[in-house]
Amino acid sequence: MNKFLFELGLEEIPPYMITPALEHLSRGCAALLDENQVPCEMRTFSSPRRLALLLEGLPDRQPDRKETVLGPPVAVAYKDGKPTRAAEGFAGKEGVSVSDLKTVETEKGQYLAHERQIGGRPLPDILTDVFLQGIRSLSWPKNMYWRESRFRFIRPIRWLLALWNDEILPLELEGVRAGRTTRGHRFLGQQEISLADADQYEEKLRENFVLVRPEERRRVIQEQIEAQIPQGLQLLPDPALLETLVHLTEYPGVIRGTFSQDFLKLPQEVLVTVMRHHQKYFSVVDRTGAVQPWFLAVLNMDRDPEGRICQVHEKVLQARLEDASFFWEADRKKPLAERAGDLDQVLFQEKLGTYRDKTERIQQLCRQLEKNPDLDTAASLCKVDLTTEMVREFTELQGEMGGLYAREEGYPEVVWKAIYEHYKPVSLEDESPSSRNGALLSIADKIDTVVGCFGIGILPTGSSDPFALRRQSLGFVKVLFDHQFDYSLEYLVEQAQKNFPSKRPKKEVRHQVLDFLRRRVRYVFQEKGIAYDVLNAVLSIEIRNVYDAYERARALAGIRGEEDFEALAMAYKRIKNILAGQTIKARAVSEKQLVEPEEKNLYHAYLDLRPQLETQLKNGDYIDALKRMAGLRQTVDRFFDKVLVMSEDEKLRRNRLRMLHEISQLFLTVADISEIVQEGK
C-alpha cells in the first residue's frame, strides 16, 4: 500500500478562509479520485502558510476496466454469414480481428461491439492530474495576481511538496516545481526541510516549530489559557477569536499581560472591544462577569523569556485604551440631544439621505407603532452615537455606545436600553432586544433600511449585499416572532414606504419586499423544525402576525397525520382546482338554487362552521379550528360524489362555484391546506 503526501505552500492566508478551502480541496480531490476508482484514506493538515493532504492505502494502479465501443449494426456487418467491409473496418480501427468482436443488444437493435480492456493508469500519474485540478478548482472570496500568467489565487504559491512514498512526483504549478522540501516556522525553524518520505511530514515539521493540525494548535492555546488565568478569575469565552487565532499561528503560545486599573472606569463593552477587535486578546472577568485588568494574547511562538514581547503588547494596548479614554471623556462633553444636527454629516446612502433623515423616518414609524414618549426619545437619539469619536473609532460599538452615553446622561432605562439594544439581533443566534422599546426601535430601523434600499433598486444578490439586507430582514422577523408583535408584514412595509418619495412603483416594491420577508420567515420557521409543506400552507396566505403564523404552523403540523384532516386537505385541493381560472362574481349564494340535498348540507355545514371558526381564530385556537374544518370532511366528500359542480345549467353552476369560493375563503383564513402533502406518499 502506498502513501501520497501533497503540500501547497503559500504566503499567509486570511485565517477564516483556511478551513473552507481545505475542505473544498479535499472533497474535490476525493471526488476526482472516486471517479478514477481509486480508494484511499485521506487526512488533511493546515497552517497559515500551507494546505496539505496525506493519502494512505493507495494501490499501485487504477483497477483495469472495460469499455464497450459500438460499431456498425449487425444487419450491415454481416452478409451471407460473412463479415462486410464495415465490420472489418471497425475491427481494424479497434486493432483486433472480427472474431474478437461481440454483438450487443441496444434500443436500436443489434450492433457489433468491441469490449476494450483499459489498463488502469499508474497512481502517480492520476494523482498529479487530480491535485492540479483540485488546486485550480479552488475558489476564494478574494483573489490576487502575482505573475504574468495572470493566475488568480488567494496568495502567491511559493512551494509544493508531492511525495509518492519516497519519490517526488513531477507536479508543476505557476513556476513552482514540486519537491521533497517543506518549510518550518519562519523564525524558530529551518527554512528548508527535506523529507525522505511521506511519513516524516508531521514530525519533521513539529521539530521545526510547526503544528500542522489545527486541532492540536487549538488544544495548546486552550491549555495555556487555562494555565495562565489568574486565580479566582475566568476567561471571557470568545469562540470566534479562538478560531481566528488557531489559523493565524503555526506554533502558538499564550502570554498574559496587564493594564492599568484606571481604565476600568471605561464601560465593559469598550474594554472588551478594544482588546478583542484591534489586538485579538482574550479578556478576563470575575465571577460577576466584570472585566479585570488582564489580557491573554496568543503569539506565533512559544516563548517570551525576557517578557519583552509582553511589554510591547502592553504598551500598544495602553495607547489604545488611552485613546478610548480620551473619546469617553470628550464625547460626553456634548450631550446626545445636541448631536442630532450633526447627523446631517453622516451619510446613510446617497439616495436615501443622511442619518438625520433616517432618524426622522424611524421616529415616524415608531409613532405609528406605538404612542410612547420614551420610545420617541429613544428613536430620536438612537443614531446619534455615530457622531461620537468612540463609535467612529470602534464602529462595532454603535448602538451600545449610544445606550451607554444615554445612561451616563441619566436617561431612564426604558430609553437608554432601547438605544443600547436596537441593533439586535445581529444574527439568528443572537438574542432579540429584551425590552419592548428596544424591540420596536429595532424593527423600525430594520424595515426602514430594507424598504428604503428595495425602493431604490438595491437588492441583495448572490455575491453582494452591502447593506446586509438579509441579516436585517432576518433580525426583523426574529424580533416580530420573539415579541409576538401583532403587526402584519404588509402593514409594516406600507408604513415604512410612506416615508419615501416614490421612485419605483410602490406596489411592485411592496411585493418584492414582502416576498423577501416571507422567505426569511420561512427560514426562521424551518430552523424551528416546521416542515416545508406546512410552511407553504401557512405562508401562502397573508402573514398577519409572525408569531401567530407560527402557532398555525404548529397546529397544522400536529393535525396533519389524522385521517379526516388528510381527506379534507385532498378535498380542498379539489375545490381549489375547480375554482382555478374561474371568475366568481361577488354575489351571495342563493339558497333557493341549491337543489341537491348534498349541496344543501354542505352549505348549511359551512354556515354553521363560519362563526365557530371565526371565534376560534380570534382566540388563536388553531388546533380546534382545524379539527372543526376536518369535521366537514364527510359532507364535502358526499358533495363531490353526488353533485356535478360544472352543471350545464348556468345558474346552478354559478351558484355552486360561489359556494365553493366562500368555503375556500373561509379555509384560507386558517391556512392553504391544499399544500399539505399526504404522509406516506
Binding site: W146, R158, L248, Q279, V312, Q345, L347
Partner: protein, 285 residues
C-alpha cells in the same frame, strides 16, 4: 543604532544594496508614500523598477496638537516598490527588519490580513499589515490596481511606519521621546510643527479659499492633460487631494459633497494614469 535618523539610514542602505533607486521625498503635500509619482506612475505599465524613499505624509485629520503620544499630523513613511514582486519578497522584507537589529526569533512577527485601498487614486492591493509584538510596523501590499488600471507586472509595496519602528527599537512610549539624533529628540525637532499645523487645519484654515483652490487645481489638472503634461497634471491632482484633506479635517465638507469630491479626484487620477500608460510607456526608461 538607536536614533530615528540611524534607522532611516540603515533601511535606505539595505534597499540601496538591494539595487533600488534611492529617491527623495516628493516636494508636494501627500498623505502617503503611495502618492509619490515614484510609486503612482512606476507601478503602471510593463517596465520593471525598484525604488526606495522616505516620504513625510500629512494627514490633517490625525493631528493632535503634539499631545498624543501616537498620532501625528505628519509622520514619516519609508516606501519601497519592487516591480515585479520577487518570489522571495517576504524573506527580503524580513531581512530588512533583521538588519535593523531586531532578532526575529525573540519577537512575534505576524502577517495579518489587511487589504489596502485608496479611493482617491483608484488604487488597491492585497496583503497584510505586519505586526511586531502586536505593533503595526509595515503595510505589505501586492499592488493590483492604480488609477483604475489593472497592473501587470505586479509590484510589491512595502510601507514602513518609521515612528512605530523607532518607538519599538528605542523602547519609548511616546513618539516625541524618540531620539532623533544623539542630541535631539523627535519632539525637539517636530513638536512645535505638530502643534501649529493641527491648529491650522482644525481652527484657522480658510475654507472658502480652499474650496476655490480645489476648483482651480482641478481645472489646471485637466488643462495639463489636454496639453499632454501628464506629470504636471498629477501634481495638481495631488494638490486637490491635500486640499480635500484640509477641508475634511476642518469639517467643511458635507457628507454628500465628500462622496462627490472623492469622485472628482479619482476621475483625475484615472485620466492621468491612462494618459501616462498611453504615452510614457512607449519610451524606454
Amino acid at each position: 543604532m538607536k536614533t530615528f535618523q540611524e534607522i532611516i539610514h540603515r533601511l535606505l542602505e539595505f534597499w540601496m544594496d538591494y539595487g533600488c533607486v534611492i529617491q527623495q521625498p516628493y516636494d508636494l503635500e501627500v498623505g502617503a508614500g503611495t502618492m509619490h509619482p515614484e510609486t503612482f506612475f512606476r507601478v503602471l505599465g510593463p517596465t520593471p523598477y525598484k525604488v526606495a524613499y522616505v516620504q513625510p505624509s500629512r494627514r490633517p485629520a490625525d493631528g493632535r496638537y503634539g499631545e498624543n503620544p501616537n498620532r501625528l499630523y505628519r509622520h514619516y513613511q519609508l516606501q519601497v516598490i519592487l516591480k515585479p514582486a520577487p518570489g522571495d519578497v517576504q524573506d527580503v522584507y524580513l531581512e530588512s527588519i533583521r538588519r535593523l537589529g531586531i532578532p526575529l526569533e525573540k519577537h512575534d512577527l505576524v502577517f495579518d490580513e489587511d487589504n489596502w485601498e485608496s479611493p482617491t487614486l483608484g488604487a488597491w492591493g492585497i496583503g497584510w499589515q505586519v505586526l511586531l509584538d502586536g505593533l503595526e510596523i509595515t503595510q505589505f501590499t501586492y499592488f493590483q490596481q492604480a488609477g483604475g488600471i489593472d497592473l501587470m507586472p505586479i509590484s510589491a509595496e512595502l510601507t514602513y511606519g518609521l515612528e512605530r519602528i523607532a518607538a519599538f527599537l528605542t523602547d519609548k512610549n511616546s513618539v516625541f521621546e524618540i531620539p532623533w539624533n544623539r542630541e535631539l529628540s523627535y519632539g525637539d525637532v517636530r513638536q512645535r510643527e505638530e502643534y501649529e499645523f493641527s491648529k491650522y487645519s482644525f481652527e484657522v484654515a480658510d475654507t472658502t479659499m480652499l474650496h476655490q483652490l480645489f476648483d482651480l487645481y482641478e481645472r489646471e489638472s485637466n488643462r495639463c492633460l489636454e496639453h499632454g503634461c501628464t506629470l504636471a497634471a498629477y501634481d495638481y491632482c495631488l494638490k486637490c487631494s491635500h486640499t480635500f484633506n484640509l477641508l475634511d479635517s476642518r469639517g467643511a465638507i458635507s457628507v454628500t459633497q465628500r462622496v462627490e469630491t472623492i469622485a472628482r479626484v479619482r476621475s483625475l487620477a484615472v485620466k492621468i494614469a491612462r494618459q501616462y500608460v498611453e504615452t510614457h510607456e512607449q519610451v524606454p526608461v
